[in-house]
Symmetry: C2
Subunit: 598 residues, 2 copies
């Protein structure tokens, strides 16, 4: 039976037929790997996700974590699944062998992780937050911190969180007010409230390692005064055994539209519920240097942002496959040209509008997957390419693509989830089927790790203009190379190439125009629309790449790729036309809108 989560065939195509991931095994870091070990990790991920994560997706949606004032209760299936996952070692798929990791390429690790997102984001969030936390500490923590906190996380004994937001400081981290007071022994005591903390309290693991942004009194104002701290739920004795309870208290749970399996908390630090060492405040350990917290966090956040896009893609992909399965098996109606009302009903996939919805979804989710894996491949290039210039090029490209990799799937793979409901009709609107939950789960992705609007500002306000605009230049070079290859290939690829070249040229021109006005508010007023337009151009490019990778190969799979590429170029890329025209005019309609006029 075909999986209803992701398509392994598509993953293989993207990894091996397009991104040449096998060639990575020639690099020292991956020398012990082969296509066989990659395949084994993918296979294992699919199996564990299918057998242990997917079956309780609905159950944990209907029975979300509860807080009785004392304990958080989470259905048993979550811990059972996480225990199985810990056994597999997949949590450390991308990490160094020396810390117990599998040292797989990022692109393969990302593909592995997507099975868990597709199966059950609510449960998958616990290990993925832990991975992000561990990666940050591996990059910036001290050897002692890595021994004390990271190793148990990679073994699945400790889980991790990211504590950034506060009730008054969501998108605006400069307004963080949690304070960290230094103590003579080099530790700190933290006081403050953190909001939206996923995995902030539970009994799923022996300990919870909170990474907390806070300000050391007397530091610089704004984001330059933010430092990063490890604040464990339970203090760890020098021998690794659990010590005193730290002063981290659960103040309440957020009950969400979706993603309900992941406990989401409001945490109070240093409110006096515990007084470790007889002193007020939550004990914290500074990570790296003071006042560098945001820089460290951004290092992790870039990865987390691509991870959000990966999750959005996986959820959209699962929705698409569910809709496809339903459309093939649900008889309803007859072809529009049919005359005989007594003829048997046809499966709804025979109706053009249902095919349109499915083909649109296919173009979104397979386009999203290509985008995410391309970013994973760039990360591998950044880390392991022999030539430092290639590493730097990959780094810059990844910087410019990150807001798109985060936002595009959060928008368009969510549309796939919406279309999956629509394909199911009334059934899709019931909780008996899966697709409405997949929609609700995915709706978070345009909000967390920076809203859509924030990423628009990031792309137009920073990424395309940083270092003299090198980001956009490199992106144009990459797309230009694809356009050249497609033009040489001739036929439909060449037609698409001409369309893509024109769109890319317009993006470049619009970018110049927007930055030629001497009014940053006007430049950035429609940054979200810029983000959406550039996103569509980038995904059109990746569809052209897929078309070229399919080449002349025959068979349903390749014909499907060709049809989806055609769909994207005919139905989707043209949407950027009016958007770019609007941007070209540096439209001030929204900027000039006054509060009183609403």
């Amino acid at each position: 039976m075909r999986s209803l989560l992701l398509s392994r065939r598509d993953l293989d195509f993207l990894l091996y037929e397009w991104l040449d991931v096998e060639t990575l095994t020639k690099r020292q870091r991956y020398a012990e790997h082969s296509r066989d070990t990659f395949d084994a990790a993918l296979e294992l991920s699919e199996q564990v996700a299918t057998k242990h994560f997917a079956p309780h997706r609905k159950l944990s949606d209907a029975h979300e974590p509860q807080f009785d004032g004392e304990r958080v209760t989470i259905i048993d299936e979550v811990k059972a699944a996480l225990d199985v996952l810990a056994e597999t070692g997949i949590i450390a798929a991308g990490m160094d062998g020396e810390v117990g990791g599998m040292q797989l390429p990022s692109v393969v690790a990302q593909a592995c992780f997507m099975w868990f997102h597709a199966a059950n984001v609510g449960t998958a969030a616990y290990p993925f937050l832990t991975i992000a936390n561990a990666n940050l500490l591996l990059a910036h923590g001290s050897p002692e911190q890595i021994d004390t906190f990271v190793r148990p996380m990679l073994e699945g004994r400790f889980f991790g969180t990211m504590c950034l937001s506060e009730p008054q400081a969501g998108s605006s981290l400069t307004d963080v007010t949690t304070r960290a007071e230094p103590r003579d022994d080099g530790t700190y005591r933290l006081f403050g409230n953190k909001m939206w903390i996923s995995g902030g309290e539970h009994d799923l693991s022996e300990n919870i390692v909170h990474l907390v942004l806070a300000k050391i009194p007397g530091g610089p104002p704004g984001v330059k005064g933010i430092s990063l701290f490890i604040v464990p739920k339970v203090l760890v004795e020098p021998d690794g055994s659990p010590g005193e309870r730290n002063d981290v208290a659960l103040a309440g749970l957020n009950h969400k539209m979706g993603y309900r399996g992941t406990v989401n908390t409001l945490l109070n630090f240093g409110e006096g519920r515990a007084t470790p060492g007889g002193e007020p405040g939550a004990v914290g350990y500074l990570v790296g240097e003071p006042h560098q917290g945001l820089a460290y966090m951004f290092h992790m956040m870039n990865e987390a942002r691509v991870g959000v896009g990966a999750g959005a893609t996986a959820l959209g992909y699962a929705g698409y496959l569910h809709a496809l399965d339903y459309a093939r098996t649900r008889p309803q109606g007859r072809p529009v040209a049919a005359k005989d009302p007594a003829a048997p009903q046809v499966p709804i996939i025979a109706h053009a509008d249902v095919k349109r919805m499915l083909l649109a979804s296919k173009s979104y989710v397979e386009g999203g997957l290509a985008l995410i894996l391309y970013c994973g491949r760039l990360l591998d290039e950044e880390r392991t390419a022999d030539d430092p210039a290639r590493r730097e090029r990959a780094r810059v490209l990844l910087e410019v693509l990150t807001p798109i990799a985060k936002s595009w799937p959060s928008q368009w793979c969510l549309v796939a989830n919406d279309l999956a409901i629509q394909v199911h009709g009334g059934y899709g609107y019931t909780r008996e089927y899966d697709v409405e939950q997949l929609y609700r789960d995915n709706r978070l992705n345009a909000i967390h790790e920076g809203t859509h609007g924030i990423h628009g500002l990031d792309l137009l306000g920073r990424k395309v203009v940083m270092d003299g605009g090198v980001g956009l230049t490199l992106l144009r070079e990459e797309i230009g190379s694809c356009v050249e290859r497609a033009t040489a290939a001739g036929g439909e690829a060449a037609e698409h190439a001409a369309q893509l070249r024109s769109a890319v040229d317009r993006v470049a021109a619009v970018t110049r125009t927007l930055w030629s006005v001497d009014d940053v508010e006007a430049t950035l007023a429609n940054a979200s629309i810029y983000l959406e337009a550039v996103g569509h151009v980038v995904v059109a490019w990746l569809w052209l790449e897929q078309l070229l990778a399919a080449g002349e190969r025959t068979g349903d799979f390749y014909d499907g790729k060709r049809a989806a590429a055609r769909f994207f170029f005919r139905y989707e890329l043209p949407r950027t036309g009016p958007a770019l025209t609007l941007l070209e005019g540096v439209d001030r309609t929204t900027l000039d809108m006054r509060d009183g006029w609403f």
Copy 2:
């Protein structure tokens, strides 16, 4: 305090400053009415909706109807609200005085009803289904049927349902298999299963009047053999008192993504749970003539479809007003040009991207409201204009606008609900706030009363080509008249007019092109995209109408109308460009897509 449900100011503008509803009082049917009585009905609706419907919206979402195998339990607040509503007489707002109605114009009645949709669709669905049921029986039932069933419905003692779909016959009503066997006494006995029946079982009323589509054995095949029956839950004695229990049995409840307050059921007719008169089968009474059931139902369905659009608009409107309220009070971040991180945070409405989301939402929900009220006004014209030619003209225009009035708000006012979540950020994703429920509630509207795809086929396949294309011709005339007035007005209105004229001309050309190919499958392959494009053109026209109605008047309200009109013409109408280009090419990408290629 400004209402968070709808804007009375906007309703007044549309009803009195644009649609000249006051002039209706010169017609005989409305001669006893005045602006005062219209205002009183609107005021009463707002008050009852605000005080009795809105407060339990969340509660009935969290505690949906439960079936224990014996009874359906619904939270007490629902019945309490419906009892208050019954007292007001609003249920019969549009109906004749002789049956106890208020005999208000449809456009005013529609505006009244929207307050209840905005406040709580889950509870409002019971009376609105009852109204649709009663209207159908008033048009096609016998005097005895009206006395027995309609009068108690208008008094709020009986509720009504519509039983069309079956598990194997959703969009495809031709496949209905419920059968109605005639008995010697002129009654029928029904046997079959009906799916998706809202209000199908509950204790909220003394009786439930099911209107059921069924086939009389020996009738013509397909839709031409469908008849319509009244099947009461409890038989009614000649003196109006309750008699035997009829054989209508609840087979189960559907648990939905939203709209949870409305019990949605699977009903079995004639399964032998009761045997009224000692005989098997559910007792049914034929409405009108045999085999005319679908025609009668369509009479009601056109109204119900505009009603769905009204509900979608109301839910989107409420979402928009909630988002606006939040954006004005939530401080977060600073202007993009600000330098000082210690400056106080600004309300998020100060950010251009938040203004963009709110302005887009305003253009959708106020555009949707204009569309719905315009349709209500057409219904009044169809019913009461002195000149028969005017009545016919209104009828045709309403026919062609109905699929748009149903679908456009279901799509775009839902986008307003989505944007309302986005404006709220993480808070909007929690169930503590209202906006995620409003989204979930509204998501149904693109599915029920004909899916989006069905309405695309209705518009392109029937409405614009019926009677030699008179529907599209009249629509072009109406829009053309507006374009002329706007051109004469000059300034921005004239600019918009030129843009609108060009869009309408393209729609006409595309329609001709699509019907010039001798392949109905190709003509209709992209009918949904046609529906969406024409919908945007129609709403652009109604924005231009609003701009003209605002005229030179000064003040925030009118400036807001001008800004929203500008937004729609700059940001929204241009979206139709690529869509019309695609349609012009009679694109076959989706049609040619094969099952195996997915």
